[in-house]
């Protein structure tokens, strides 16, 4: 049980990579990349977790109540913005590729290989 979160992290990352490698579509690659990234969420949140502790917000509980690590939560918030930024840009690129080439299959799209 105590190993489960770490194993889930490794699994999510690995399966995301598998998705990217076997993918035949840019949009599917973007989805797989998000799966990869969710492994970082799982790792960071698991690192900060403490048994029998509450949220790090001292409104109803007075300061001093046992609570989980707030630092990793802040890091995950940053991580989420990273994900949003990268996904937005990738979707824009996929959209433009589709407009110009009519396909988003990486097998048919290879930079600088068109005139070979």
């Amino acid at each position: 049980m105590t190993l489960l979160p770490w194993l889930v992290t490794a699994w999510l990352f690995g399966i995301g990579i598998y998705g990217i490698v076997t993918s035949r579509d840019y949009v599917h690659i973007i989805g797989s990349l998000s799966v990869c990234q969710s492994s970082t969420y799982v790792l960071l949140l698991s690192i900060g977790f403490r048994w029998h502790s509450g949220p790090p917000i001292f409104y109803e509980h007075p300061p001093g109540t046992a609570s989980v690590d707030p630092v990793v939560h802040a890091l995950v918030l940053t991580d989420i913005v990273v994900g949003a930024a990268v996904t937005a840009l990738l979707l824009v690129i996929a959209l433009q590729v589709h407009k110009r080439c009519g396909t988003t299959d990486p097998q048919q799209l290879r930079p600088l290989r068109h005139t070979k």
Partner: protein, 589 residues
């Protein structure tokens, strides 16, 4: 706080503020105001960083954001805030980045009129990220700047919206996004183990921990991420696709600063964070050194067999990053001094060469060495810059690159790595020299293996002021030709302070010498160039057989660089597995 301590954060905040201001007013600002603000900001940042670098010689300059100094936690094992720590080398690298940006803005004058000031917003954010990456002393903060750098680079690569640039940008984005996730996983593991993000504090804890699997895993993940950014075999595949298709002013920054910054970051982490771990040091001395040598050779061979000028330069960048990695792997103050000098010299030369490529794209709508044959004659100053660049890469026994190569070479154990440096230098130098003589001076020779390489009809914004394109190119070339003795007084004192930011003293550099190795490189360079330019189309059956034998290995390497994203990701995973196996082998024996 001293004046330098107070002003330190402005090196990052000024470009961020300028970017925000331009984004705010983008719809109303008159044309050219973006150019002006960007140039002024980057020059101011360069001056500030140079001044800080000079001050830092008397002791590293800290700045604790929000006033959260280590003392504010009242515990010796907790650092609450994020600190910047400017050692002389880091500040000098930041200064160089800002200077290169100023040159690139000048070169790009009028290029990006179509998108108002948005190009400058992206570039200024890019600059801020690089400066932050150089100066920060906090592991997670390093990740934040690493990622900001990547996001800006992704958007800039795809700017031309051509088919190749979009696909190159997509490959670049996905591979580098995976790298940033690896980095974050590594940071997370190290945080779980040591409970801090401060590099100095974590470095001390790692020294105590011995060969802990978590430390080794943290190193492998961080190294894989930074090696991806620095385009080292087998993580390097994205680079040629991205650098070859990005707008030339952006390629100048990519090749001149961004990728070598990845390697600089790796060097800094190894010496400041992991120096206490025997296993990591063993991995760096052994496998990383050979990885560098292999990268240098592979990049050189690929550069030699290109005809698309920017792709040629991109592969030559990969080759030179391999040489820089050899410098990192020495882990000696002398080798690090060589790395710093190489970073500077290579950035100047490669910046100038990409500017030459940009001039050709703007004037002749082509970047194909063979199609451009003889067309560059009226642009002879650019031709001279390109010849100078080629000769410097190919072992001219003078200038910054020569001294840097000599410093690294002196620290390399064994003859094989030295030989790799000579061969790769000659291959890349000869490739550049060959194209320069063909394009600008009309020397011919039937195309050899480069004939089969892919190329594409491209163009960049024409009708820009030629003087503003030529000037930065010539300035960079002239600076690269400066005698290294101007930089050595600074470098000798900066290198030991990179190894230990709170240390002192200076490293004694071997002064003269290394001329024989440089002359050997130069001789091979000139021989290869002549061979290419005197080549005839093979007519006899024997000649054709020789040509086939020559082309076969190059074609095989070329086939590996397939342009297919799934291949790139697979090779990256193989690289991570190799790193992990090496770390395990050294960590548990």
């Amino acid at each position: 706080m001293s004046a330098a301590e107070t002003l330190l954060p402005l090196a990052v905040l000024a470009p961020l503020g300028a970017a925000a201001l331009l984004a705010l007013l983008a719809h109303w600002l008159p044309a050219r105001s973006g150019d002006c603000l960007a140039i002024v900001t980057s020059i101011a940042v360069a001056i500030l960083c140079g001044w800080i670098a000079d001050h830092a010689l008397h002791g590293a300059i800290p700045h604790w954001f929000g006033g959260w100094t280590p003392a504010s936690s009242h515990r010796s094992d907790v650092v609450l805030g994020i600190g910047f720590l400017a050692d002389p080398a880091s500040a000098a690298v930041a200064c160089f980045c800002a200077f290169l940006f100023a040159m690139s803005f000048l070169f790009a004058w009028g290029y990006f009129d179509e998108v108002h000031s948005h190009f400058h917003v992206l570039m200024l954010l890019f600059l801020a990220a690089m400066i932050g990456f150089c100066l920060t002393h906090d592991l997670f903060n390093l990740f934040v700047w690493f990622e900001l750098m990547s996001v800006a680079a992704f958007a800039l690569t795809a700017y031309p919206l051509g088919q190749s640039s979009l696909e190159g940008a997509f490959n670049f984005t996905v591979t580098n996004a995976i790298a940033s996730f690896l980095m974050l996983l590594g940071v997370g593991l190290l945080y779980a183990r040591f409970g801090t993000m401060d590099i100095s504090l974590m470095g001390r804890e790692i020294g105590r921990a011995g060969s802990d699997p978590v430390v080794l895993a943290g190193f492998c993940l961080l190294a894989a991420a930074l090696l991806t950014k620095a385009a080292i075999l087998p993580f390097h595949m994205w680079l040629a696709d991205a650098h070859a298709v990005a707008p030339s002013p952006v390629s100048v920054i990519f090749s001149g600063a961004m990728v070598s910054l990845g390697l600089f970051g790796l060097a800094k982490l190894i010496v400041q964070l992991f120096a206490g771990s025997q296993a990591v040091v063993a991995v760096v001395h052994g496998p990383l050194l050979w990885l560098g040598a292999a990268t240098a050779i592979l990049g050189g061979l690929m550069a030699w067999s290109q005809r698309h000028l920017k792709r040629l330069l991109a592969f030559s960048t990969i080759s030179h990053l391999g040489i820089m990695l050899i410098g990192v792997a020495t882990l000696q103050a002398t080798g690090i001094a060589g790395l710093l000098l190489y970073l500077l010299g290579h950035g100047l030369v490669k910046g100038a060469l990409f500017m030459v490529a940009g001039i050709l794209l703007a004037r002749h709508n082509s970047i194909d060495e063979i199609a451009l044959y003889g067309k560059g004659r009226p642009l002879w100053p650019a031709g001279l810059a390109m010849v100078a660049g080629g000769v410097m890469l190919g072992g001219l026994p003078y200038g910054l690159l020569h001294s840097a190569t000599h410093l690294i070479d002196g620290q390399v154990p064994g003859e094989a790595a030295s030989a790799a440096m000579i061969v790769s230098g000659a291959l890349t130098g000869a490739a550049v020299l060959r194209s320069a003589l063909r394009i600008f001076f009309g020397w011919s020779g039937a195309p050899g293996p480069e004939r089969a390489a892919p190329t594409e009809r491209e163009h960049e914004m024409p009708d820009r002021p030629m003087i503003l394109m030529m000037l930065p190119c010539l300035i960079l070339t002239a600076l690269a030709l400066a005698p290294a003795s101007l930089a050595t007084p600074f470098i000798t004192r900066a290198a030991p302070r990179l190894l230990d930011p709170f240390g002192s003293g200076a490293v004694a550099l071997p002064t003269a010498g290394g001329v024989s190795a440089s002359l050997a490189t130069l001789a091979i360079t000139l021989a290869l160039t002549l061979l290419a330019l005197l080549r005839h189309r093979p007519t006899s059956s024997g000649g054709r057989a020789i040509a086939r034998v020559e082309r076969a290995p190059l074609a095989a390497i070329d086939a590996l660089h397939s342009g297919l994203l799934p291949d790139y990701v697979t090779w990256g995973t193989v690289g991570l597995a190799l790193l992990a196996s090496c770390a395990a082998a050294f960590g548990f024996t």
